[in-house]
Symmetry: C2
């Protein structure tokens, strides 16, 4: 779609990812989108509403992908491999949004960008944590460390994706997934 609403979403995502939410003005967005300010406010009510709409637009797909990949089938290594693969594929297909998401997540805790992305991050965390909770029934030594494992794995994934998005790590996808997965497993079981 190239209607004005979609155009605003696309353009704003790119600008936020490139320059940061605070650094981009509403005027700049509407000019880049070829519309005027009232059009933006007609669809999104506020600058923050536009940001929320961007996030909402991507959240459903991302969470569905993560949810699906994090299904536990009594093979934790396999599950983690699938999860990592899913994240890498998603980041590869949505590099602009993922970059924006990362920047917002690492923004200061009480900043507007961070507060807007916090919920989506938390939902991902819950899904990953649930994977480790299920796995703990097969691996006693993992018990009561769900939160730490989920946070660490998500952190590792985001670290590698950030390196990839910065071009500091090559994109031989399967090998990278293998390395990250086994690196993480080794961190748990050693």
């Amino acid at each position: 779609m190239t209607d004005n609403r979609s155009q605003l979403l696309t353009v704003a995502t790119h600008l936020f990812a490139t320059h940061g939410y605070d650094a981009v003005g509403v005027q700049q967005i509407v000019e880049a989108a070829g519309v005027t300010k009232p059009t933006l406010y007609y669809y999104f009510e506020s600058k923050q509403g536009l940001l929320a709409a961007i996030i909402l637009e991507h959240a459903e797909l991302l969470l569905a992908i993560v949810q699906n990949a994090a299904a536990y089938d009594h093979d934790i290594t396999r599950s983690i491999t699938e999860l990592v693969t899913a994240y890498f594929n998603y980041a590869q297909q949505n590099p602009v949004f993922y970059r924006m998401m990362l920047a917002m997540w690492f923004s200061p805790p009480s900043s507007e960008p961070h507060l807007n992305i916090a919920d989506l991050q938390h939902q991902q965390f819950l899904i990953i944590e649930s994977l480790f909770k299920q796995a703990a029934t097969d691996h006693g030594n993992m018990r009561n460390r769900h939160a730490q494992y989920a946070a660490t794995l998500k952190g590792l994934i985001d670290t590698y994706i950030a390196l990839y998005l910065q071009g500091l790590v090559v994109n031989d996808n399967p090998e990278l997934v293998y390395r990250l997965t086994h690196q993480f497993m080794h961190g748990i079981f050693s």
Copy 2:
């Protein structure tokens, strides 16, 4: 020191780390510091100059610590352990600055915060890379991967520090260092 210059540096660091560089106004800074605007401009010339001064103030010590910890003594595991320990200690002692540094580093590449922190990050990278260059003389399989190893290790360290600063990972320092180090080494030699 509690002179106005130091007061401005301290207050601004805290505000930038808490709310983000762009979201904090000059007026807000001087009010929190108990001075007026011309005082800020007298010492730092601009808002960006204030940011540069904050970074410069911390850069010397941080780089000295990293440089010292990254000395290679033909025991790569030991070197990495020391490096990781040094980073963890520094982050523990300068949590506000480290949080600000991370947020700026993860800001969009062409944003003002990112451009201001890029040099300090690059200097850290060079030091760590140099460690791996030296180690490559003892470990042939590491050759020509200095940059990737340095980027990955720095990314891992920052990930764990971010988790620690967010309270998502407990602070049993020595165990965390051991886990991260061996996790990273396993990623290399497997």
